[in-house]
């Protein structure tokens, strides 16, 4: 997706701008419960925001549109739910285990999927995700349609009681920020620069001597692992893991979030996730129309609004955001 604006500004003032925005974002997020916003809503949105950021790492900075990212969200969810409920592990290990499982799956899927580019890559990830979905539908430990219910929350690091909404909230915020900053560091690292070079012109990157397949695979695994981090955290918040998180609709939703916020922007996926989750929340009673509205947003974004919200703002301010 070469459409996103990606001018290389002088790095230093740019970084300073972004640091200010990041700090403002943390302050606003941390204050939300105090402002009377339902903490569970914010937590859910944060998990999806991290999921969208992980997805954006691939589409925005490597140019790979994965249409099967739900498999990583769901795999981590099941893994951490199983670890918490059946093995009785503490939450931090469950989340870690979930993220690792997603990373391993990412490695396997990545080995197959990055053999193709463009549309083929999208279709391949979609098809592999569907295969994973059917696997979870039939596997014993996922309890199929019932899902894993009543996942214990426990004590984070042994002393933070996650059954208290506010404690849970700040733990989730911390996890989100850790993931977000990792992505931020990655795209500003030499590794990130090579990824962008691959996105812009892969043959050139190859001719410069980079083994692009390895870079793409590494980015894919990182993205999968971070999507897994989001999925595992989400399970600890909602206390259940279900097939919803592995369905193709979920893969579509994360594309939508990122598209609305702005593909290839740093803050876009976060904004997009909050908008889409809020929309689902407040339109829940319209049931059947939510999908239609999502479809309309998709079409509108693609036809008239390709930069997304943050992308448009960045364009207006002539900054990378």
């Amino acid at each position: 997706m070469t459409d996103a604006p990606m001018k290389t500004h002088a790095a230093a003032p740019q970084m300073r701008d972004e640091t200010v925005v990041i700090m403002a974002m943390v302050a606003v997020l941390a204050a939300l419960p105090a402002l009377g916003v339902y903490p569970y809503f914010v937590m859910q949105a944060l998990c999806f925001a991290l999921f969208a950021c992980a997805f954006n790492l691939l589409i925005g900075f490597v140019g790979l549109l994965s249409f099967g990212h739900a498999m990583f969200l769901g795999t981590a969810g099941y893994a951490s739910a199983h670890a918490a409920k059946v093995w009785g592990l503490p939450p931090e290990l469950c989340i870690l285990f979930g993220a690792l499982s997603a990373g391993v799956l990412g490695l396997l899927v990545g080995l197959i999927a990055i053999r193709r580019q463009g549309i083929y890559f999208s279709m391949t990830t979609l098809a592999l995700a569907q295969m994973i979905y059917f696997f979870y539908l039939q596997a014993k430990f996922t309890h199929g349609e019932d899902g894993i219910q009543g996942v214990p929350q426990g004590y984070f690091l042994g002393f933070l009681d996650l059954s208290k909404p506010l404690v849970l909230f700040y733990v989730v915020l911390a996890i989100f920020m850790a993931g977000f900053l990792l992505i931020y560091r990655t795209i500003n690292s030499p590794f990130g620069e090579i990824l962008k070079a691959i996105r812009e012109n892969e043959p050139r990157a190859i001719s410069l001597g980079y083994r692009t397949a390895r870079y793409k695979l590494a980015a894919f695994v990182l993205s999968a692992g971070l999507a897994g981090l989001a999925g595992a955290t989400k399970v600890i918040v909602s206390q259940n893991a279900s097939l919803t998180d592995v369905r193709w609709e979920m893969s579509g939703e994360v594309v939508l979030m990122t598209l609305v916020g702005g593909l290839g922007t740093i803050f876009g996926p976060v904004v997009g996730a909050f908008i889409i989750i809020a929309m689902q929340q407040y339109l829940a009673e319209f049931g059947q129309w939510v999908l239609v509205i999502q479809g309309v947003i998709f079409v509108t974004c693609v036809l008239a609004f390709r930069r997304g919200i943050v992308g448009e703002i960045a364009q207006a301010l002539r900054r990378n955001l």
């Binding site: 569970y40 059917f134 039939q138 309890h143 349609e145 899902g147 259940n240 279900s242 097939l243 049931g287």
Partner: protein, 404 residues
Amino acid sequence: MKTSVSTLALVAALALPGAAFAQDKNVKIGVLDDMSGLYADVGGQGSILAAQMAIEDSGMAAKGWKIDMISADHQNKPDVGVNISRQWADQEKVDGIFGVLTSSVALAVNGVAKEKNVVYMNSGAATSDLTNAACSPNTVHWTYDTYLLANGTGKAVVKAGGDSWFFLTADYAFGQALERDTTAVITANGGKVLGSVRHPLNSSDFSSFLLQAQASKAKIIGLANAGGDTMNAIKQASEFGITGSGQKLAALLLFSSDVHSLGLKMTQGLQFTETFYWDLNDGTRAFSKRFSDRMKNKNEPTMVQAGIYASIIHYLKALDAMGSNPHDGVKVVDKMKSMPTDDPLFGKGEIQPNGRTIHPGYLFEVKKPEESKYPWDYYKLIATIPANEAFTPLAQSTCPLLKK
């Protein structure tokens, strides 16, 4: 133990009617159902309408009660159900959650209702776990469950001579439970199961599975699945000439809306169990007339929608008897368990200590097209299963609440 404590609390509450506080006569009801998915015709808008009618028919407004209702679509997703019901309890201060089709969502909401201590009356989920291993002091299960389906249909079909079975089973927890329960009933009644094939959920093509069922030479092909799977299986069985060749289909879970959608030509002769049929007696007919007049698509009510109506009627009766809303799920459920149920749709019954509402079940057979005289004239009543035989005997229930 728990019951006696809450009974004490109840006595205490009743002993001080309005002494310290003004009587709280506000109630908020939440209807959570599949509004758009596979079961939207079974529950959906009809569930909301049934709840509205129950509120109107209860006559509570005239007694000074203020009853609000909200509704939402759980999309058949457990996590959506959990999120909505948790938010309802936290933010909307909902007192009772009603409906909740689909076993997976039903079990998930069960946990939230207990955690938040709200009333949870399920009409629509099949899983008998709700009143066994997963039973809760906040939960009442109305309308039907897998025990009823297996027992009602399995027993009746074997007794009528259908003593060899082959199952087409949806390959997930619900299908497997249904196959297992029905198999037990079949063998207990002297029949035998010749085999089964597990098909993936939401299969569009059943021809391969039907050929295997045909080759088994079983007299009965049992459909241990639901919704679109059942309908496609029925439709394709008639295409492959299975129903014409002496083998019979037994659908274990079928709703009147499914029969309506498939048409009589395809479904004639099917036997299955339900607990409500709109054309059963004067009471059901009167309700159904009012109901279908108000439905956009003029559909008659399904048993699930009828169950929502009946459970809300009983819930409001209990509140009325308590005089004021304690906003305490366990207390209200205990009160409901202490009162016999009685409504024009399900007749007389009771709520057992494990939360199971017992009422009669009926074995129906779908009429032939030429026997159908007016719109929605679909069923013939074959047998009535008395309330005390229709559901799991208390002695067999594994509900922890029953252990004193």
